[in-house]
Structure formats: structure tokens, C-alpha cells
Symmetry: C2
Subunit: 366 residues, 2 copies
């Protein structure tokens, strides 16, 4: 598979992720937990693109608090490859900053924007689809990857696609792009069923590929404040005497809006989607792991787990031995110092439990 010397990756790694308590903690958010292997989700994300993109072209957007953790994980990553947000600003501002950084290095730069806390079980296909997207980006398209739904998921946004796009000669026909008719909010279960049946809806993966110059033009048109502030910020950072208060102010002035709302949904005539299947999941809660059973009883198991008569569970231990009897449809997570037990259909309430733990002042467990 041929890559492109213009291709940059932007790993979005600023998230907090209360939903994976007790494995995720305040100082150890979701992108830093090991769910599927001995690698953290962000390491898996990086491994996935490594055959295509050398480390010097990987940008990483994160918070001040987490930067040191990532410097430890990716020791080859230069300080200039980090985009450090002094306060949470959602996705649009850091993408604008990343696009400016990339275009300064290479006016033809193409940016692949990748959430750092998703799972892909077929990375080879993922890379093929990514390169098909790059071919469209080279034609100034803004490309999103849409996942062919496998079930009526209510936790994802959807994309309704239209006709085939004209294909560049270099793109394999199995990854042909489609026009986008609409971005659709997370549906209720009934609506999700109708989407699945209709066959014209894809899951919005949150993965985008575009030329840095193209997205900057879109910012100029739809989010001119962020367009200007991001320029001012880079100038500020380039100064030898850069003052951290001024940098903070500059970030604070940027509108904390997502790239989806701020840009994608406004420029649909230039945005295309590539429908694909590469075993993608945003792993939005413990329940999501039920899609990846790894024993004969449809359990997802990790760590030292001994079961008697248990099926269809998520059983995860990072500390000592977890013994279970007669469980079905449950989530059990054991860490050194905190344990979670709940039915799979209640994993969305982990946040509520975390709030209750906070209210009872057991903050050392958060």
C-alpha cells in the first residue's frame, strides 16, 4: 500500500472518559487504558497508522495535565508535534491549530484526524480505507469514514449517504466514496432500526481526512474567529518570550465547538463519506466490549478471571483474581482499589455512580 509523503495524523487525545471508571480515572482517561491488549487505546491508534505515517508527521492534541503521560508513551515525538490545550475547547479549535502547523511545514499537507480512544479490529482494512480517503482529499474533498452498521446502535451519530462520487483512477472500487445527504443525531432505538433497514445510513466514526489548506478555507468561511485566533496563537508560540497567560487567553477566546457542528454539517457539498467495515467501535462504555467476546461463552475476559457457568459478560481484572458464578449480561471490573459491578444495560449510569462517589467524598477513588 502506497502512502503519501504529505500525510499527517492528528490524534485527538484530550478526553476524560468517566464512563470507564474504575479503569479510567481522572489522571488516567480512556485513551490511556488497556482494553484489548497490553497496549493503551492511544498506542493501538498509533500502531494502526504507523505503516503509513512516520512519527515526525504525527500531531497529538491533548491537555496540559496529560501531555507528560504522552511524552512518556511516545518518546520519539518532538515537542513541536504536541498541541497542548490549556483548557477544554472541543475539537474545532485544535484541528484549526493542527492544520496551521501542518500547512506551515508542507502547503500540500493532508491531515487524518483520528480519535485516540476507538477500537479497530481489522487495521489492515482500516489503512486501505484511509488511503482511499487520502486520494479524495488530494482532490480537495473533505472525507469522512462511515461505518456500515451491524446493529441498531443508539450511541452513535449517523450519516445518510447519497450517490457515488466520481472516483480518482487510483482508488480501489471497493472503497468508493458517496455524497452526504445529512448528518443525523443519535437516534432512539426505533429510529436506529429504521436506519439499519433503510441501508443508506452509516455510523459517523469521527474520523476525517482533508487537506490542511482546504479545512482552513472552511474555517475562514464558517468559523472565522477560530481561523484568526489559531493564526494569532501560532505567532504567539513562535515568540521566544511566549507568555503562558497570553497563550491561555488565546485558547480561551476560541469557540469550544465540535468540527462536526462547526464545519462538517455546513459544507456537505464538499464532504464525502467512504462506507467501510473494519471492526470499528468507539468503545463508548463497558457495554461496548460485549461486541468483542473472546471465550467460548460469549464473555469478554481480560486478566485473571475464573468463571463457573457464566455467559455474555464483560469480566475485567487488573488486580488479583476475579471469580464469578452464574452471571449473565453483567459487567465486572476489578482494579487495585476500586471495583465496579453492574448489569450491561446500566453501564450508561457509571457516570451517576462516579458522581455519587464524589458526593460521598471518596475522591481518592476517582
Amino acid at each position: 500500500m502506497e502512502s503519501s509523503k504529505h500525510l499527517y495524523a492528528l490524534l485527538l487525545a484530550g478526553g476524560k472518559g468517566k464512563r470507564f471508571w474504575p479503569l479510567s480515572r481522572e489522571e488516567n482517561p480512556k485513551q490511556l487504558i488497556q482494553l484489548f491488549s497490553s497496549q493503551t487505546l492511544i498506542e493501538e491508534t498509533y500502531e494502526r497508522i504507523r505503516p503509513l505515517i512516520p512519527q515526525e508527521r504525527v500531531l497529538l492534541a491533548t491537555s496540559q495535565a496529560l501531555m507528560m503521560r504522552f511524552k512518556g508513551l511516545f518518546s520519539g515525538l518532538d515537542a513541536r508535534n504536541f498541541i497542548v490545550e490549556p483548557l477544554p475547547r472541543n475539537t474545532a479549535p485544535c484541528i484549526a491549530v493542527a492544520a496551521r502547523k501542518a500547512v506551515a511545514r508542507d502547503p500540500e499537507a493532508i491531515l487524518a484526524v483520528l480519535p485516540s480512544d476507538h477500537h479497530v479490529s481489522d487495521p489492515e482494512t482500516f489503512r486501505e480505507v484511509l488511503m482511499a480517503a487520502v486520494r479524495h482529499a488530494e482532490r480537495d474533498k473533505i472525507v469522512t469514514l462511515g461505518i456500515t452498521p451491524t446493529h441498531p446502535e443508539t450511541g452513535y451519530g449517523y450519516i445518510r449517504f447519497g450517490d457515488f462520487e466520481p472516483e480518482p483512477a487510483s482508488v480501489e472500487c471497493r472503497y468508493r466514496a458517496r455524497t452526504i445527504q445529512a448528518f443525523v443525531e443519535k437516534p432512539n432505538l426505533e429510529t436506529a432500526f429504521s436506519y439499519l433497514k433503510a441501508g443508506r445510513y452509516l455510523w459517523n466514526s469521527g474520523i476525517f481526512i482533508f487537506k490542511a489548506s482546504v479545512i482552513l478555507n472552511a474555517f475562514k468561511e464558517f468559523l472565522p474567529d477560530i481561523f484568526e485566533q489559531s493564526e494569532a496563537l501560532l505567532k504567539l508560540e513562535a515568540q521566544a518570550t511566549a507568555n503562558s497567560d497570553a497563550i491561555y487567553d488565546s485558547w480561551e477566546r476560541m469557540n469550544p465547538i465540535s468540527i462536526d457542528y462547526g464545519v462538517m454539517e455546513k459544507v456537505t457539498h464538499d464532504v464525502v463519506v467512504i462506507p467501510a467495515s473494519f471492526g470499528w467501535s468507539d468503545v463508548g462504555s463497558w457495554r461496548a466490549l460485549t461486541a468483542f467476546p473472546n471465550d467460548n461463552q460469549e464473555n469478554f475476559e481480560k486478566g485473571r478471571v475464573v468463571t463457573v457457568d457464566c455467559s455474555d459478560n464483560v469480566l475485567y481484572s487488573t488486580y488479583g483474581l476475579l471469580g464469578t458464578i452464574g452471571l449473565k449480561g453483567m459487567v465486572v471490573v476489578v482494579t487495585n482499589g476500586a471495583v465496579l459491578v453492574c448489569p450491561q444495560d446500566r453501564t450508561q449510569d457509571v457516570k451517576e455512580l462516579v458522581d455519587e462517589i464524589e458526593r460521598r467524598d471518596f475522591t481518592e477513588y476517582l
Copy 2:
């Protein structure tokens, strides 16, 4: 309440108790776990009789492996108060040995035989009933305490009682003794319901009170081998040069039979039962704790536990924080290094889980 200077206690503390894994371990059996307070079950048992029996008249039967643990817990207990079984011999042999020890100190000695891993929520009433039993024992009766059933329990043996016994003048009429018609095996649920309805059945508590001389006569009649071996053993131990191999052989030669089968069921004409209610439970499994809820949602909770929408559970943590959501009818036990999760109706299968852990060679967790 007046006690008797002839009254001795024999605490039976040799049990292993796999059923409380992971709180009970090989080196930490059930009598040494803290279920209801910061005291172990055997300490609670001892506290219960302390107002009636001074420490020098407390005998403690246990295994070689556990003796040091009990010496640590009951530092005032003299070495001659221990009955150390070099191998498991069930209850009859150690009761014979204890009876011989007691009668050697006091020919009028009365022995109260008490399992060391039971719970009593009303110790004051327990002591009143115990002293009523002593009054009958003084008339050469073999007395058992029978618990008025509160539910159709299938985990206990039952006693069918007959007429009232003639009462010694000193016994309060609310603790009048009954003749025993039969000792009955653990019933199935249907039979347990019929016992409850019949109103003439009591739970067999395993608590016995008798004169040491009377029980020795019963041994002589029904278990003559144990009668003789126990005498030989005491002579052996009295020798300054007692050889541990000879002591082992002496124990090994004793028939490992329970006092129930070996004596009680054979001498029913001399055995009486006192029906009573003092919040007794043999705490046979984690499920037994559901009888002692301690929060507003009918949960039994101990340790640092935070719940959202949970009722009717046993939630026990000795290490870190346990967080649960949407649980009903479950048992969750967290210790440093091992966690158990199972529905309450599967707690009898904890042994099976322990066997599986052993089979998989995770013996450090047993």
C-alpha cells in the same frame, strides 16, 4: 443471671469453610473472618459466653495449623485449654477428649459445646436459654438448643419435638424443654415448608449442653472405641516425654464421626431440646447474610460500598471501594487480591468455583 461454677465451654474451631471464599482462605477459615463487626466469628462466640464462663473454663478444639492464630486471639487461654487435633476427626472425638479433660478438673463439670462460626443477634436471650439448659444438664439430661424456624430453610437439619419435659423449679417457663421425637436430615424446600407449617420442628443449632460424666457414659455405650482412645490419649499427653507420633496415631485411631450421628440420635430418650429464638444463624454461606440487612434497601453492606439503585444484595468490601449499579439479589465480595460475584441463589456453588481455581493452579488465591 446466675451461672454455675461447674460450667465449661468447648469451642469447636477446627473447620475450614471454603464457602466464604474469598474472605475465608485456607489459612483464614470462617471462624476467623469478620462478618458482622470488627470481631471475628469466634471472638463473637467467646464474647457471648464471657458473662457466664471465665476464660480458664473455656476449652478450644482446633487444628495444629490454626492453634497459633487462636493463641494470638485469646492470649489469656492456657495451653492446657487447647485440644489440638493433628488431623480432622469430626466432632465426636474432640468432645470425648474435652469431656475427659473437664471431668478430670471437676467431676461435676458441665460442658456447653459451641460451634465457633455461628451468629447470634440476641446474645442476652442466648445466655438465658443456655442457663436453662444447664439446669436440665444438672439433672443428667443431654440438652440441645433448637431454633424456632423463621423460614423454610433447606440448609439446616431439623429436630421434631414431643411433650414438655418436667421442669426443674429454677427454670423460667418461657424456656421449657421438650422431649425429642427425631433428628431429621436437611429437607428439600417442599418438606421444609411442611415442617414450618407443622409447628413441631426446630432447627438443629449444633449447640449441646451436658455433664461431662453423662456424655462419657454415652460414649462408653455407643462409641466405646472413642471412649477408650480418648482415655489413652490423655494419659499419653500427661507423660513428660509424650511423643507426637504416638499422639497422632491415637487421634488417627478415633472414628471421625459427628456427635449427632454417633451419640445424639441414639440416646433420644435422654436428650431434650429447648426451643428458643435468639437470632441464630449458622451463616452457612454468603446468602445467609441476606437475613441481616443493614441499610434502607435491604442490602447487607460492610466496608466502603457505594450503590446506585441496588436492593437485596450482600455487598462486602475489605479492600478499596466497591461501586455497584442496578443490582438485585447478588453477592459481591472484594478482598485484597480476590473478588467474588454471584447471584444469591448460587452461593452454594462457591465450593465449585474454589475447586476450579485450584484446578487452574491459582492456588495463591485459596
